[in-house]
């Protein structure tokens, strides 16, 4: 009752300006409590990742007897070596591995190819369509756009089965093409996202270019795309992360070792181990290395990702 009658918005503003430096100010318990909650939330989010690292740096055989030790049990790089294929099977088993192997470099290569191809195609073709929906005038434009948007409502599982049959009929099961095609041309979200930005661009530059005799292709490549570099990069980043993490479709279509991606590879690695004898440190090393590109992207572009979430929520 005492502090709650103080104007809250003003209080928070004063606090952020003087941030408790003024000696007269009593400790704001509400604010302190709020910060404690924030700290707890961040700890709950981050601690499991640290546990992942701790496990990966432990020797698998030592984990059983040191389950609650906060530091790596019998520190060892063995799990990483095992995952990266730097150990022979015998060495791996001696080091506490289960004998299950993971062809990490192959899966990594497949993940890189799959995520890169689908991201590049999806973003580029969606940008083309978004240009037609935002900058060109043609009859039926809004109706076609509305039809595209309705596909946002169709759940992926619904199209997954018929798409699987189509890919199978085309003889593309267990090929990179079969894995990539459904993602390659568009998503309604990508078109919607880019159209918003294209709509807000000024027509003047475009019209000046037109007067100089530039054709639409040149306008698209030399004016629209460069001017929309920031939203395109953001979309590409979000798409890449999504594709890197995709599991269901590669599970259906890309089971074969030659096209298996990391997400599928990790789940196979887990299920190959006999029950009760999981290679935990190997598994955690594998998940860490598989998540590494995401961590790196996040360190490099974190701000961009974080700030784009509010918009991408329309997804």
């Amino acid at each position: 009752m005492t502090t709650s009658t103080a104007p809250r918005k003003n209080a928070s503003r004063q606090n952020s300006r003087s941030s408790g430096l003024s000696p007269k100010k009593p400790i704001n318990w509400r604010r302190a409590g709020a910060w404690v909650l924030v700290a707890v939330a961040v700890a709950v989010t981050i601690a499991p990742f640290l546990w992942m690292l701790r496990t990966a740096l432990s020797s698998n055989s030592a984990l059983a007897s040191n389950a609650g030790n906060l530091l790596p049990a019998d520190f060892s790089w063995g799990a990483f070596k095992r995952v990266l294929g730097l150990q022979t099977i015998d060495e791996a088993i001696a080091d506490g591995g289960s004998g299950a192997a993971i062809n990490f470099w192959l899966y990594l290569r497949n993940s890189v190819i799959f995520a890169t191809i689908t991201t590049a195609g999806q973003v580029f073709f969606s940008a083309m369509a978004a240009y037609a929906f935002a900058r060109l005038r043609w009859p039926g434009r809004n109706k076609v756009f509305a039809v595209f948007l309705t596909t946002m409502m169709v759940p992926p599982i619904f199209t997954a089965l018929p798409n699987f049959l189509m890919i199978k009929n085309l003889g593309l099961l267990n090929t990179m093409a079969g894995m990539s095609l459904p993602f390659l041309f568009m998503t309604p979200f990508a078109i919607f996202f880019l159209r918003q930005f294209f709509l807000s661009m000024s027509r003047e530059v475009e019209e000046a270019a037109m007067l100089d005799g530039a054709k639409h292709l040149r306008i698209f490549f030399q004016i629209v795309l460069p001017n929309a570099a920031a939203p395109i990069a953001t979309l590409a980043l979000l798409t890449f992360i999504g594709q890197w993490n995709e599991y269901f479709w590669p599970l259906l279509v890309g089971q074969d070792e030659s096209v298996r991606v990391l997400t599928v590879g990790l789940s196979v690695f887990k299920s190959q181990s006999p029950q009760g004898a999981l290679d935990w440190s190997g598994l955690m090393a594998g998940t860490l290395v598989a998540a590494l590109p995401i961590f790196l992207l996040f360190i490099a572009f974190g701000k961009k990702v974080v700030n784009s979430i509010g918009f991408s929520g329309i997804k």
Binding site: L37, F125, A132, P139, T151, N245, T263
Partner: protein, 291 residues
């Protein structure tokens, strides 16, 4: 004539790839999926038309009702906790911690693959060696077979996904909070409204459109939970965590019963459309109180 058609020719060129993708991977599959749901089709040979047989079989199928029940249990737990926690986090971010670093930290689990998150928690919640059970036994609680018991499998999977999604959902709500004009809070302050009163009378009504959108997106998403289940319990123990998408997957790829699986996914599709419709209608999501 040319002016009426405008840029039609060049527009067709620009939307051509997207139209291919749309027709080949959304439109045709949608029609084909509906068609297959009226057939008996086991990937070998041709589909045979059997009318509504799949649907009548589904309604008499105990495993379907079990899957539906399990899925709804998951959705309620997941959405309930996720929305409340995310709303709390969003308010915290809005009032005390606007820093991008904290927002980024909370978002991190969402950016990591479902499979990785599932494996991580599978390890942390392991019955014998998991740190969570270890801590529980330190404080004198009994060990729990989180993924291995019928009672705990679904709540555990729901918890794992709340952990993964709470930061993301909080960011969506946070974006909505930032759109609320400051002067409304100032007026509330001048009127001497308590924080609780301000929250219920200013924040919540203005946040409603964003909350509805978040609810629609997250409910639709969680009806399709699969990755976490596939990696951790694979639907078990017994049928305790066989959610609807897992059931569809097993029917199609385990039993090669594509007709039945298609009918199941038509039902899921209809449910999702209804859920979205009802949420938009009842919560009046497309109207903002600001207008």
């Amino acid at each position: 004539m040319t002016s009426r058609l405008g840029d039609l020719k060049i527009a067709l060129f620009f939307i051509f790839p997207a139209v291919i993708g749309f027709v080949a991977f959304f439109l045709i599959p949608t029609i084909r999926g509906i068609y297959l749901s009226f057939t008996e089709y086991s990937i070998l040979g041709e589909p045979t038309w059997i009318g509504l047989e799949n649907y009548t079989a589904i309604f008499a199928d105990e495993l379907f009702w079990n899957a539906m029940g399990v899925t709804i249990q998951y959705v309620v737990l997941n959405i309930g906790f996720q929305t409340v926690i995310a709303l709390g986090l969003a308010l915290l971010m809005h009032r005390v911690a606007k820093s991008t670093f904290i927002r980024g930290a909370l978002l991190l689990p969402f950016l990591v693959a479902n499979v990785i998150v599932a494996l991580l928690w599978f390890w942390m919640l392991d019955y014998q060696l998991g740190i969570v059970n270890e801590i529980m036994s330190w404080v004198g609680l009994p060990r729990v077979a989180f993924f291995g018991s019928e009672q705990w499998a679904i709540p555990t999977i729901a918890f794992v996904n709340v952990w993964r999604h709470m930061g993301y959902t909080a960011l969506l709500i946070f974006a909505g909070l930032q759109a609320i004009p400051n002067h409304l809070y100032e007026v509330a302050n001048l009127d001497g409204a308590s924080p609780a009163r301000t929250f219920w009378s200013v924040t919540m009504p203005l946040l409603r459109p964003v909350l509805v959108l978040v609810l629609v997106v997250t409910v639709i998403g969680s009806f399709q939970v699969f990755d976490t289940v596939a990696v951790t319990t694979n639907g078990g123990p017994v049928n305790a965590s066989r959610v609807i998408q897992m059931y569809i997957y097993q029917k199609a790829f385990g039993e090669s019963d594509f007709g039945y699986a298609s009918a199941l996914s038509v039902i899921l599709f209809v449910i999702l459309a209804l859920v979205a419709f009802v949420q938009m209608k009842f919560l009046k999501g497309n109207e903002s109180d600001l207008d």
